[in-house]
Amino acid sequence: MTPLLQIDNLHASVGEVSILKGINLTINPGEVHAIMGPNGSGKSTLSQILAGKEDYAITQGTVAYNGKDLLGLGPDERANEGIFLAFQYPVEIPGVSAMQFLKAAVNAKRKHHGEEELDAGSMLKLFREKAAQVKINPEMLKRNVNEGFSGGEKKRFEIFQMAVLDSVLGILDESDSGLDIDALKVVSDGVNSMRNGKRGFLLVTHYQRLLEHIVPDFIHVLVKGRIVESGGREVALELEKNGYAKYGIYQPAKH
C-alpha cells in the first residue's frame, strides 16, 4: 500500500536557524496521527511546510504524497490534490467574503481536476450541507473571511472549509486551542465524520483532551525539531502528567 504521506529525514531552516532536524513520519490511508511538543519545537513549521509555505529552506530530506514528490508542488496544487492545513492562526481577509473565498476555492479545485465550475445553486447547497455538519451558522459566510470571528469561530470555520473542500489529508494545527467544550465537540465530530479508510489526519495539539474525542492511531512527540518518541495513547497521558521534563526541556510553571 502506498502511504498517504511519507516524510523522510526532513531538515528545514530559516536563514541560519535550523528548525526541523530530520523528521521521519509515515501516515497511511485511514490513519490519524497526533503530534505533541513544547512551544517552539517546530510543529507549525512542519505543518506549514507540508502546506507549501515558501519561507523555509528545505536543506535535506523528501516528502511524498500518494507516492509522488510533494515539495515540488505549489501550495495551491497541494490543496487541489487534497491537502488541507487548518491554521493555528487563521488569517483575516478584509474585503473578501467567506462565500466569495470558498467559491473561488471550490472552483479552483474543480478546474484543477478538469471539471466544470459549480453553479450557484449547487454551491449554496454544498455550503448549507457542510455548515449543518460542522454546526456553523451559514450567515457567517456573508462576513469577511475570519474578520472579527472569535477564536473559536475561526477554528470552526477552518474545519468547515476542510469539509467543503473534501480534503484527503487534514493537518490540524492546534484546532482545539481556545475552544469551549461544545466547540471542541463540534470540531471533533467534524473530523470523525470525515474519517474513513482513505483519508488521513495529522493533529497538532497540546492537550490530550482532544485525543479523547478524536482517538489517534499514533502519537508523536516533537522536541527541538526531532520526533523523540512515538507510541499510542499512553504517550499523551504520560505527557499530561509529567510534561516534557524527561526530554530535557525546561517548562515554565503552569499557572
Binding site: 501550495p75 495551491d76 487563521p90 474585503g95 473578501v96 473565498f101
Partner: protein
C-alpha cells in the same frame, strides 16, 4: 515653447468675454507651474510644456462606436463629445429630463438661459485662478466662449429630480490630432433637487497601440448645490497612456446639501484631479471617494481642497491608490476650517497599495484649522499585498494570480461600494480588474 492659450474668441456676452480675458491675463502672467510650485511638487510639467496642442482637427465617430463606451445597464442621457467637440447627432436627446430641468450645451445655455448661467458660471472657479498652482484653471477660463470650450449645463430646479443620470462621454481619437480641449460644465441644483452627472473619458486607442494618442483635456465642472440638494458626480478617466487630463471640480454646498464626488483614474500619462468643495451652509455633507490605478510610468495626482465655511458640516475623503510598475501616485488633501465652522466633522484617509518595487506614492495632508471645536482627522497608509493572506488563499487551492487579484480588488472594493449607481460600479470594478498585472484568466464576481 508653444503657447497653450487658445486664440482669443470674440466671446459674447460681455461678462463671458471679461471672464475669458481675466483667465488669459492670469495665465500669461503666471505661466505653467514650475518645479518650485508647492502644489505641483511631485508632478513635473517640463515635458508637457513642450507639446504644441491645437484645436481638434477631426471629430469623426459613429453612434455605434460611441455606444461601445456607454455604461452597460445604465439608463442615462448619453451626451457624446469627440475630441472635446459636442456631437449632438450621435447623442441622446437631452431634453425631457423633467419639468423645468435644463440640460443643454453650455454655449446654448449662455445664449438662451443667461439668467440661470450668468450668476454662477465661474463664480467658484474664478476666485481660484490667482491661487498658487491654478494655471490650468486660468487656462480653462481663458478658453470660455471659444471652440475648445465644449461642455454642458444642467439645471435642476427646486424640488425636482433629474429623471436619469447625465452621462457626458468624452471620446478621444487619434484622428483628432494633438488637440487640447478646455471643457466646462455647470450644474446648478435648487433646493431639494437631485441629479447625477457622469464625466467619462475614453479613447479609441486600443491598449496595444504602438504610438498612443497625445492630447489634453483640461476640464472644469462647477456644482452649485442648493439647500437639501443631493448631487452625485462621477469622474471616470480612462484616457490614452500618452494623454494629459487636468480636471477640476468646484463645488458649493448650501445648508444640508449632500454632494458625492467619485473619481476613478485608470488612464492617462499625467493626470491631475482637483476636487474643491466649499461647505457654505450649515450641516452640509460632502463625500469625496477616489480610486486610482497606475501602470507603466503613469503619474496620477489627486489634489483635494475641502473648505468648511459653516458650522456643523461633515466631510469625508476616502482615497485609494493601486500602483503597479513604475507608476506614481500623489494625494494632497487640504482641509480648511474657518473660524465660524465650529462642530466641523472632517475625515481624510488615503491608502495606497504598491504592487511593484518601483511604484511610489506621495501623500500630504494639509490641515488649516481656525475653529477650536472640531473633529478633523487624517490618516495615510502605504502597503503591499499581504503575503500571509496570499498563502492562505493558495493553501485553499486558489492560484496565486487569482489570490493577488482578489486581494487587490478587496482593497478597492469599499470605494466601489460607496457609489450609488450600480451599473457604474460594476463597469469600473471590471475595468479595474482588467488593468491589474495579474488579470489574465481572472473572473471575479463583482
Amino acid at each position: 515653447m508653444p503657447t497653450l492659450l487658445p486664440a482669443p474668441a470674440s466671446a459674447s456676452p460681455a461678462w463671458l468675454a471679461a471672464l475669458a480675458a481675466a483667465g488669459a491675463a492670469q495665465f500669461a502672467a503666471a505661466g505653467l507651474p514650475g518645479r518650485r510650485s508647492e502644489s505641483w511638487k511631485y508632478t513635473n510639467l517640463e515635458t508637457f510644456g513642450g507639446i504644441a496642442f491645437v484645436p481638434a482637427v477631426s471629430c469623426a465617430l459613429t453612434r455605434a462606436e460611441a455606444e461601445a463606451f456607454f455604461i452597460p445597464g445604465l439608463d442615462a442621457v448619453n451626451l457624446v463629445f469627440v475630441n472635446g467637440v459636442f456631437r449632438p447627432d450621435i447623442s441622446d436627446e437631452a431634453a425631457g429630463l423633467g419639468a423645468g430641468i435644463v440640460c443643454c450645451p453650455l454655449s446654448e445655455a449662455i445664449a438662451k438661459h443667461g439668467a440661470l448661467v450668468e450668476p454662477h458660471l465661474g463664480r467658484l472657479s474664478a476666485p481660484a485662478i490667482t491661487r498658487e498652482g491654478e494655471a490650468f484653471t486660468a487656462l480653462n477660463q481663458a478658453a470660455l466662449g471659444g471652440a475648445q470650450s465644449g461642455g454642458f449645463f444642467l439645471h435642476v430646479p427646486a424640488g425636482a429630480a433629474a429623471g436619469k443620470p447625465v452621462h457626458l462621454l468624452s471620446v478621444s481619437t487619434r484622428e483628432g490630432g494633438v488637440f487640447a480641449s478646455h471643457g466646462r460644465n455647470l450644474i446648478t441644483a435648487g433646493s431639494g433637487a437631485r441629479a447625477s452627472f457622469i464625466e467619462h473619458y475614453v479613447t479609441t486607442d486600443d491598449a496595444a497601440a504602438a504610438t498612443p494618442s497625445v492630447y489634453l483635456h483640461n476640464c472644469i465642472t462647477e456644482i452649485v448645490a442648493g439647500q437639501d440638494a443631493k448631487v452625485e458626480h462621477y469622474l471616470l478617466e480612462k484616457d490614452s497612456v500618452c494623454a494629459y487630463n487636468f480636471s477640476s471640480l468646484f463645488i458649493e454646498q448650501a445648508e444640508k446639501s449632500d454632494v458625492h464626488s467619485h473619481t476613478v483614474l485608470l488612464g492617462g500619462k499625467l493626470v491631475r484631479n482637483n476636487v474643491a468643495p466649499t461647505l457654505k451652509g450649515t450641516a452640509a455633507h460632502c463625500l469625496i471617494n477616489g480610486l486610482y490605478v497606475g501602470r507603466g510610468s503613469q503619474l496620477l495626482d489627486n489634489a483635494m481642497r475641502v473648505h468648511h465655511g459653516a458650522p456643523g458640516c461633515f466631510s469625508r475623503q476616502y482615497y485609494k491608490g493601486i500602483l503597479c510598475d513604475a507608476s506614481r501616485g500623489v494625494f494632497s488633501g487640504r482641509i480648511i476650517v474657518d473660524q465660524a465652522a465650529q462642530k466641523t466633522d472632517a475625515i481624510q484617509q488615503s491608502r495606497s497599495m504598491l504592487l511593484s518595487d518601483d511604484a511610489r506614492v506621495n501623500t500630504r495632508p494639509q490641515l488649516e484649522i481656525y475653529a477650536d471645536d472640531v473633529r478633523c482627522t487624517h490618516g495615510a497608509t502605504t502597503g503591499k499585498v499581504d503575503e500571509e493572506a496570499v498563502f492562505y488563499f493558495r493553501s485553499r487551492g486558489i492560484p496565486e494570480a487569482i489570490a493577488r487579484a482578489m486581494l487587490v480588488y478587496a482593497f478597492a472594493a469599499e470605494g466601489f461600494d460607496r457609489m450609488e449607481l450600480e451599473p457604474v460600479r460594476k463597469l469600473l470594478a471590471r475595468e479595474m480588474i482588467a488593468r491589474l498585472p495579474m488579470a489574465a484568466s481572472l473572473s471575479i464576481e463583482v
